[in-house]
Symmetry: C2
Subunit: 308 residues, 2 copies
């Protein structure tokens, strides 16, 4: 007599193991960064030590993870996206080093460690940031290109997202906004540039490395923009709700520097709702990928719910 068929598992989605996904991408990105950057012993040792000190200070590697996940969503491989993932992490790290300088945010701690200028002095910290920015473009030039996305397109993408109309515009507006009561539109302008621009660029580069279609690129742009904005609102919230110990950097800095933030303008509750609304918009953009964007979805959820 034939055995009765085993009952079929109900059609639920298997839980995506984000923790191991992020750990694996972190490991691969670290390995690639280690290969792209000159060793600590390369002359002049000071600059390479300083570059590596901040680059390997235990960052969460969220931008590279988003870049790799975007490549996957478009049917590409991590390998083809790896140079782009490393480039955006170099840009991100350079911007933190310069942002922490006494002339800017004047931060002594970052990721639970003394900031770059605290260890190497201000002069070297400025140069280490410069070197990481330059390194980013050297890495992009070594990345996978295609007819649709040649090197000039990839370089332009990184340069625009990091330039005086985006990332740097955000830093300047942030610097100039200290002590002022900014309207929400202006705060959003800052957040879009300080955070959304590079996050958006990360997923777009991932897509480009996978030779994504124009429609996919547009979806990634929507996703990146909204996740980026939600990410910065959450950052604002954590700055007032968490301790320095949990954050690994000085908490309450925004209030101390009299910076406009989402919580200071909208209150905590409305800020949380806005972050959720933006994350929902990001999810919606992923419809385009018909189930291949699980990692992107999980990353966006995590970024919304994180507590550090």
């Amino acid at each position: 007599m034939p055995q009765p068929a085993k009952p079929r598992a109900p059609k639920t989605r298997t839980a995506f193991d984000l923790e191991s996904y992020v750990a694996r991408s972190c490991r691969e990105v670290d390995r690639a960064l280690g290969r792209f950057l000159p060793s600590e012993r390369t002359k002049p040792a000071t600059i390479h030590k300083a570059m590596r000190y901040s680059l390997f200070a235990g960052g969460k590697r969220m931008r590279p993870a988003l870049c790799l996940a975007a490549a996957e969503a478009c049917g590409g491989s991590w390998e083809d996206a790896m140079a782009m993932a490393c480039a955006v992490e170099c840009i991100h790290t350079y911007s933190l080093i310069h942002d922490d300088l006494p002339a800017m945010d004047n931060d002594d701690f970052r990721r639970g460690k003394p900031t770059n200028h605290k260890v190497f002095g201000e002069g070297v910290a400025v140069l280490a940031g410069d070197a990481l920015l330059t390194q980013a473009f050297e890495i992009v030039a070594q990345g996978r290109t295609s007819r649709r996305y040649p090197a000039e397109t990839l370089v332009m993408e990184v340069a625009r997202a990091s330039g005086s109309l985006q990332l740097i515009a955000g830093q300047v507006a942030d610097l100039e906004g200290e002590g002022k009561k900014l309207p929400l539109a202006e705060l959003r302008y800052i957040h879009e540039r300080k955070t959304s621009a590079l996050l958006c660029c990360s997923v777009r580069l991932g897509g480009m490395s996978a030779q994504c279609s124009p429609a996919q690129l547009e979806a990634l742009t929507q996703f990146g923009y909204n996740v980026g904005l939600a990410f910065q609102i959450i950052d604002d919230i954590l700055d007032v709700t968490q301790t320095s110990e949990t954050l690994g950097k000085t908490a309450g800095k925004d209030t101390a520097a009299q910076k406009a933030t989402y919580p200071s303008l909208l209150g905590l509750e409305k800020s949380r709702k806005e972050a959720t609304r933006l994350t929902d918009l990001a999810f919606k953009a992923l419809g385009q990928f018909k189930g291949k964007a699980t990692a992107l979805e999980a990353l966006a959820s995590y970024l919304l719910k994180r507590d550090r």
Copy 2:
């Protein structure tokens, strides 16, 4: 009766009018830079004012001139080389802004004007340097490419010359060498990186924009390397022999900062001889171009004989 033929002019080379050549290239480069950079009114206005303040502070535009002259020597046009000429000037200007910061050389004057951080504050000066560095790559990405020299090659050329093994290596070694009695080999290491690297890159990029042959590229490399080294030796000499007024920047800074220089290690006479020897080597490399390198030759002569 037929008129007697006019006597033929003796076969001497017409004197090359360097002054008007440099004035013309300066004008064209300024115009192109003006187009590449966001206007002063573009938000955030501060950063674009700061970028333009230093970029249009009356620099001699020697690197762009060398770049354009190198393109000419290889049969190319100024137009095709213009983006590269502008990119190297952005890199040069960014490195000056950061070099002048209190944490580095701490200079209050440059080209007879207050330095960037004196006008805009240190935070904005750091960001203006960052923005010009980033802008350089955006400009390279818009430059003329060819099968032989695609965008990735041009970007790599600029990134390497400006990165932690060249330009930034020179700055770090310079910073670390202050107050130390360096041997000549170490001083040469610094000069090669601080000055030769970008000068060499300028002429190489000019050649590449003209789709130069490998032999021409090698000749330009030799030329650029030697002119660059001679240029920095002359800079060392001018620092001790000229007034701040003539230089438009603080004279005697090297001595005050106890920096090793060619004059301090070799004396003035031997330093002058070394600069002449290097310029002769540069001339020799131009043999390759069979008379088409008149502008490069004139520029090298001028750089050797300049008094500011």
